[in-house]
């Protein structure tokens, strides 16, 4: 049974790094959209893997290899269940969101003809732009962009106008990493399907915050990174509908993804191995499933609620600062706030508050098109996790006030 109260002290104790002192000050980590911190259970599972289980998987007939294979395949089943995928064949482990997107984009090389169209949103991370640009270059397909408005929301009516029978793929993030905007992906997907287009949703910033149901969404591809959902670095998730994963060719060649190899001809393995060439990040994948268990034990509804409270409080407090401008004020957003103060360069504020132990991100957040839209070079971005506290937000505000004073 889940307990109903949210015990912040006990939760913070789950994360060893949250006790760290930085420059003599208590670390205040508000850069969770870049990477989340790692609970002890996840770290322990890595230690346990290398101390008791380490072996190459799938290929071995010995005990360790079988145990490691089982743990690896159990992780796949956990992600399948978590995303409500129909089959574990639909879950591919990659090295990150970026790898997942490249794998899918590469898969469309032979499915696109010159003049076909693909649709991206103005809110994307570079990882969901560049692979598709590379694809356009190779195929002659044309990229169309769903525009955004001042609030940092996509303009749905413009999206509808872009769609046509020429549209073959639509790729949009579920949540914007730079602004926190939650996009209406269910509607985006169903509209695209009316024209027979496939939809890839970049869920890197959504998976840490709420429950995803790929069947309900009817999404064709859904991708994310373990390091953004309290798991280790070097692991990505790719959900793909079985029919799509069967349709697109393998991305990488190597061990595991083959059935038979001769110099004349190679036949590829079935799903999911077709897309998992070489030795995967075995320890990382197993630990990612432990991270998933961890957040599910807390409960994603509780996480969502907690983060909404933090967002409300931080927004209110920040808005009290003179000359602040928050970018992206959709009513539907995650616990991310992107802002600038007057004409002060975000880097100046970031550097100064860093001396107070406050970790925020400054810059373009790998989303230059959004910066171009607002005609700025970057923002200060705070991104909160359920383990952050009201006190931490107060520290942030105090430090910003100090920085502001020093800089004017």
């Amino acid at each position: 049974m889940k307990n109903t109260a949210f015990n912040i002290t006990s939760i913070r104790n789950d994360f060893p790094i949250l006790n760290l002192k930085v420059n003599g000050k208590q670390l205040v980590y508000l850069d969770n959209a870049a990477t989340t911190q790692t609970p002890k259970v996840v770290i322990d599972s890595i230690v346990s893997y290398y101390s008791k289980l380490n072996a190459n998987i799938h290929r071995g007939a010995h005990y360790l290899s079988q145990k490691a294979t089982e743990a690896y395949e159990d992780a796949r089943k956990k992600f399948q269940k978590h995303l409500n995928a129909q089959s574990s064949n639909e879950i591919i482990f990659t090295s990150g969101t970026t790898h997942s997107i490249n794998l899918v984009a590469n898969g469309f090389i032979n499915l696109l003809n010159s003049g076909d169209e693909i649709i991206v949103s103005h809110l994307e991370h570079h990882s969901n732009i560049v692979p598709w640009q590379m694809l356009c270059k190779k195929t002659g397909a044309i990229m169309r962009v769903i525009p955004m408005n001042e609030k940092g929301e996509l303009i749905f009516s413009e999206y509808e106008k872009l769609l046509s029978n020429k549209t073959k793929v639509v790729f949009v993030n579920h949540v914007s990493n730079a602004l926190g905007t939650i996009n209406p992906i269910k509607e985006i997907i169903s509209k695209a399907h009316e024209f027979g287009a496939a939809v890839l949703i970049d869920g890197a910033q959504a998976l840490p915050h709420f429950k995803i149901d790929v069947i309900d969404l009817d999404v064709d591809f859904y991708v994310g990174s373990a390091h953004k959902i309290y798991g280790p670095t070097g692991v990505g998730i790719l959900y793909g509908k079985e029919k799509w994963l069967n349709k697109i060719p393998p991305y990488q060649g190597g061990g595991e993804m083959i059935d038979e190899v001769t110099f004349e001809k190679t036949t590829y393995a079935k799903l999911p191995n077709k897309f998992e060439a070489g030795t995967p990040n075995i320890a990382g994948v197993i630990a990612s499933a432990v991270a998933l268990d961890y957040i599910n034990k807390i409960g994603l509804e509780k996480i969502e609620k907690r983060e909404a409270e933090l967002l409300d409080y931080a927004t209110k407090k920040l808005l009290e600062i003179d000359e602040i401008k928050i970018y992206g004020d959709s009513s539907n957003k995650t616990s991310v706030i992107s802002f600038n103060i007057g004409s002060i360069h975000p880097y100046d504020i970031g550097s100064i508050i860093d001396n107070e132990g406050i970790a925020v991100r400054t810059g373009h957040h790998c989303a230059q098109p959004i910066m171009d839209y607002f005609n700025i070079s970057g923002t200060i971005r705070i991104s909160m996790s359920f383990y952050n506290t009201i006190e931490e937000i107060d520290s942030l505000i105090n430090s910003i006030m100090v920085a502001k004073k020093m800089l004017s």
């Binding site: 799938h58 007939a61 005990y63 191995n273």
Partner: protein, 138 residues
């Protein structure tokens, strides 16, 4: 005997073994006595994928009962498939489809007989059930 009865019989036989050596010796013996598949069915199509050793499995429908024959290039695999055939052969398609398969764990095969990718043992069981499904819809 029903599938369940046969499986229970197998489980009690395996219960008698004192250690893995006895169990393996038994499996190896079974392997030697496996009802051998006719050469014409030992084809590429009848190979079960996902096993480290080659396994051919074939089913015929005789008087509404499925008769399985098989072969493998590894003797232990042959022994395992002999156990599976004992449990599932000479039964109706419907009974095979509905049969439980957890006796495999109960006799400690899953534990001790490590398999390569996607567990060769489950591939075999899957293939047996697939045959039953195929025949039941004919």
């Amino acid at each position: 005997m029903t599938i369940e009865q046969i499986q229970n019989e197998i489980i009690s036989e395996f219960d008698m073994f004192n250690d893995w050596t006895e169990k393996y010796e038994y499996i190896i013996d079974l392997g030697k006595s496996l009802p051998v598949i006719k050469t014409q069915y030992k084809t590429q199509e009848n190979i079960i994928r996902g096993c480290q050793s080659k396994v051919w499995l074939y089913a015929e429908n005789i008087d509404n009962k499925l008769i399985f024959t098989a072969d493998s290039d590894a003797i232990i695999t042959k022994g395992i498939i002999a156990i599976l055939i004992r449990a599932f052969s000479n039964q109706s398609a419907e009974e095979i489809i509905n049969a439980k398969t957890d006796f495999v764990e109960k006799i400690g095969l899953k534990e001790h007989l490590s398999q390569t990718r996607a567990n060769g043992l489950s591939s075999m069981i899957k293939q047996i059930k697939l045959y039953a499904v195929a025949y039941s819809t004919k």
